[in-house]
C-alpha cells in the first residue's frame, strides 16, 4: 500500500482528479451532465487502446511506429469489406482484427529474424501499410456499412458510459492480467527488464518480442473496430494522428523506455489527463494548437520527473546498501 501511495499511478490519479474538479468548476457544473460525461468517455476509448498498444512493445524494450498505420489499415479493410463487398459485420470485424494482429506479428517476426532495430522495421511496415490503406479507400470516405454497428458505436451503458469505452477498459484489464499474472506476460517483462538474465533463465527473448508486437497489433485491431463503429465513416486519414498520443500515454504513465515496466493503469490514467487537456481547450475556446503544446510539455515533464525520481532512489539505495547487506543477510 505504501508503495502505491508513492507510485506514478497515485500521482496521476491526484493530478487527474484535481484537473477534473477544476474543469467541473470552470464549466459551472455542466461537465457533470450525463451527456458531457458520455462525450468525454466516448473520445477516450481509442486513445486508451493505442496507448496500451505502444505500452506493450515498450515493455519488452521495443517501440512501434506503425500503430496508426496498423489501426488505419485494419479500419479501412473492415470498411471496404462491409461497404463494397457486403461481408457480414461480425466477419468483417474479425478479419480486420486478425489483419491487425498479423501485421503486429509480422513486425515482431521481422525484428527477430533480421535483427534490424525495431525503429527501422516498424517505420518500414508503417510506410507499407499507409500505402495499402490509401489503396483500399483512396480519397473516398467509406460509410455505407450497416447502421447496427454505428448504433453500437454511439450507445452508452445507462446513457452515461459508452460501450466502446467499456470495451477499452476490458482490453486494459485483460492486458493487465496477462502481463502480471500469466507466464508469457511475466516472460515478456523479464525479457524487457533484463534480457541477459531472461535468456540465462531459459526464457526466449525472441518469443517475448514477437508476443509483444503481436499483442500490440491485436490491441490496435480492437482500436480499429471501435473507430469504425464510432466514426461517421472510414477514410485515408484514420490513424494518421495516433502516433504521438500512443507514446504520450505510456510515457506519462511511467513506462520505462528501456523496457521491463507494465503500466496499464498509468497508461489509462495518462490518457484521461490528455483528454482533459482537450476538454479544457473546448471549455475555454482556446486554439487547438495549445493542446499539442501542453501534451508535449507534460510528456517532457513526466520524463524529467521520472529521472529525478530514479536518481533519488539510486542515491537512497547506495547509502543504505552496505549496512542492509549485513543486517538482512544470513540470520
Amino acid at each position: 500500500m505504501k508503495r502505491f501511495v508513492r507510485s506514478t499511478e497515485m500521482t496521476l490519479l491526484v493530478i487527474g482528479l484535481v484537473f477534473f474538479v477544476g474543469l467541473v468548476i470552470a464549466s459551472g457544473g455542466d461537465l457533470l451532465a450525463a451527456n458531457s460525461i458520455r462525450v468525454l468517455l466516448q473520445f477516450l476509448a481509442v486513445p486508451v487502446l493505442i496507448g496500451l498498444a505502444q505500452m506493450v512493445v515498450l515493455a519488452v524494450g521495443q517501440l512501434n511506429l506503425a500503430v496508426g498505420a496498423i489501426g488505419g489499415f485494419a479500419a479501412a479493410a473492415m470498411g471496404v469489406l462491409m461497404a463494397d463487398h457486403g461481408v457480414p459485420v461480425p466477419l468483417a470485424l474479425l478479419i480486420g482484427f486478425l489483419l491487425a494482429g498479423a501485421a503486429g506479428l509480422l513486425n515482431g517476426v521481422l525484428v527477430v529474424l533480421t535483427r534490424i532495430n525495431g525503429f527501422i522495421v516498424t517505420l518500414a511496415t508503417m510506410t507499407i501499410l499507409l500505402g495499402v490503406q490509401y489503396r483500399l479507400v483512396g480519397t473516398r470516405t467509406v460509410d455505407a456499412y450497416p447502421q447496427g454497428l454505428k448504433t453500437f458505436g454511439s450507445a452508452a451503458l445507462f446513457g452515461v458510459v459508452p460501450w466502446i469505452f467499456v470495451v477499452a477498459l476490458i482490453v486494459a484489464a485483460l492486458l493487465a492480467l496477462l502481463l502480471k499474472r500469466t507466464v508469457p506476460g511475466r516472460q515478456l517483462l523479464a525479457s524487457g527488464g533484463n534480457p541477459i538474465a531472461a535468456r540465462l533463465s531459459g526464457i526466449s527473448n525472441d518469443r517475448s518480442v514477437i508476443v509483444a508486437h503481436a499483442l500490440s497489433g491485436a490491441i490496435l485491431g480492437v482500436a480499429a473496430i471501435l473507430t469504425v463503429a464510432s466514426s461517421p465513416g472510414v477514410n485515408k486519414s484514420i490513424g494518421g494522428d495516433w502516433l504521438l498520443p500512443s507514446f504520450a500515454a505510456p510515457i506519462i504513465g511511467g513506462a520505462l523506455l528501456t523496457g521491463g515496466s507494465a503500466v496499464v493503469l498509468g497508461t489509462v490514467l495518462a490518457a484521461f489527463i490528455v483528454r482533459f487537456v482537450d476538454t479544457a481547450r473546448a471549455e475555454f475556446s482556446l486554439e487547438p494548437s495549445w493542446v499539442n503544446f501542453v501534451v508535449g510539455a507534460v510528456v517532457l515533464g513526466s520524463v524529467v520527473l521520472g529521472q529525478v525520481r530514479a536518481r533519488r532512489q539510486e542515491r537512497r539505495a547506495v547509502v543504505k546498501a552496505p549496512d542492509a547487506a549485513v543486517a538482512g543477510g544470513v540470520s
Partner: protein, 505 residues
Amino acid sequence: MTLFEASEIVKVFPGVRALDGVTLTLEAGSVHALLGENGAGKSTLIKVITGLYRPDGGRLLMDGREMSFGSPHESAAAGIGVVHQERNLIPGFTVGENILLQKLPTSRGLVDRAAIRSEAARWLAELELDIDPDQPVTELSVAQAQLVEIAKALSVESRVLLLDEPTASITPNEAALLFRVVEKLKDDGRAILFVSHKLEEVFQICDTVTVLRDGASVLSGGALADLTRDEVVDLMVGRVHEALSLPERAVDTAVPPILELRGVGTASGHADVDLSVRPGEIVGLYGLVGAGRSELAKALLGLDRITAGEVRVRGEAVKIRTVRDALRNHKIGYVTENRKEEGVFLEQPITRNIAVTIWDRLRKVLGYVPAKVETAMVTSYVEQLGIRIASPSQLAGTLSGGNQQKISLAKWLAAQTEILIIDEPTVGIDVRTKDAFHTLIWDLAANGLAILLITSDLPEMITLADRVVVMRDHRIRGELPNNHDYDQMSQQVIRLIHAEGTTAA
C-alpha cells in the same frame, strides 16, 4: 560419489579451440574449484555445462548417464543450477518471482502468487536467509541479490551448483555469509563448482581443484590440501611464477605535494578527508567496496559536489568543475574502474580510444584530424605499454580485458597528465597481465607521475604503494608508510579497516 562429469570436452570457435579436452568431475558433498587465467576457458566450460553452447566433442554425464543440453532450460531440468557472473535478476520483479523465474508456478492458467511466496520462502529458508519473497529486488543490497541468485539456482531442484565468481562484487564480510551458505549446501550433499580469481577464498572453502590452461585441464580434481598457493599459480600460468621484483624507486619527500586535499567533504557523504600525493609517489587508497573511494575520485574530477574543505593542485586552491577542466587546466587523469562501461569505446578502433583525450592537440584546420598523425601518436603508446594488437584500427572490443585496461590508461598518458587516479586496475585480470600492469604503474611513478591508486586488492596495494591510506564509511581511518612486508602490512591495514567507531547507522 560422482554426481556430474564433463569428459574430454572440446569446443571450437572460428579460429580458436576454446576448449580442447577438458575433464571436470564434481562429487556430492564437495566444493570444487575451477581455476585458470582469463581466456583459459572457464566461462566457455560453464556455458557448455549449462547448455548455452553445444560442445563439439566430449561427453556430459549426470549420475553416469550421458546428457545433451540444447538450452539452459534442459540443464536446469537435469538438476544443474548456476549463478552466472553477470547480475541476473529482473529489476521490476519481486524476490519470489526472480527465484522461480525459470519455472513460474501456475494455477488455472494464471501465475500463482501464493505458490510463489511459499515456494520461494522455502528456498530462502533453505539458505537461512531472512528476506521477504514479496520484496522488489531493486531494494536488495548487492550481497543479498547474490544470495537470492543462489536461491534461484537451487529452485530447479539442483544437485549440482555452479558459482561463477560469486564474490567479485561483494565485500569480505558479505563473502563470509556466502561461504557459510556454500558450506551448508555442501553438507546437504550437493556438488558445488566454485570459480574465482581469489586464491585465498579457494583455499578457504574448496576441497578439490581443476586448473585450466589454454583450453585444456592441466590438473583435474586434485586435492587442495596437497597443494600450495604457489603450486596452483604455477599450474595456472604454466611456468614457475616468481614474485614480482621491482627496481628501487625513491620518493623525494622534500618536493611539495602536487595534489592535496584538506578537510574535504562531498555531497556523497565524505567528511574531513586529508590526502596528499607528491610527484613520483604512489599513494594507495585502500578500503572495502562501498567505502567511498571511487566517489572521492569522482568528486575530485568535478563529477560530484565538494561541499567542504579545499583541494590544492600544485600549491594552489582550485575548484574543478568538469573532467575537461581537470584534464586541461590541472593535468589530472582518471583511469576508471569499470573499463567496459566507463573506460573504453568498445565499438571504436584503438586509435580513437587513445586519441580521444588529445584531439584538440592533434587537430588541424577546421577540426580535421589526420589519420596518419593519430596513428603515429597511438603506435608510440601501444609500444610503450606493450599492448598486444593486430593493428591500430582494430576495434577495442576485440581485445582482452588486460589490453583494454592498458588502452584506457594510454589515453591519459597521451594527454600528458601529471596526476593519475587509477581505480581498481587489475580486477578480473589474470596473474601474468597483472604483473605487467604493476610494473607499468611503477615505471610511471619512477618517471615522475603522481599516482593515486584505488584498490581492494591487498597484495597489489602492498606491492605498489609508497603510503597506504585507509578509507571506511567515507572517512580516512589512518595512514601507514608501506614497508612492503605483506604479513605486517596486511595486519595493520585490516586492523584499521575494522577499528572501533563504526559510524554506520
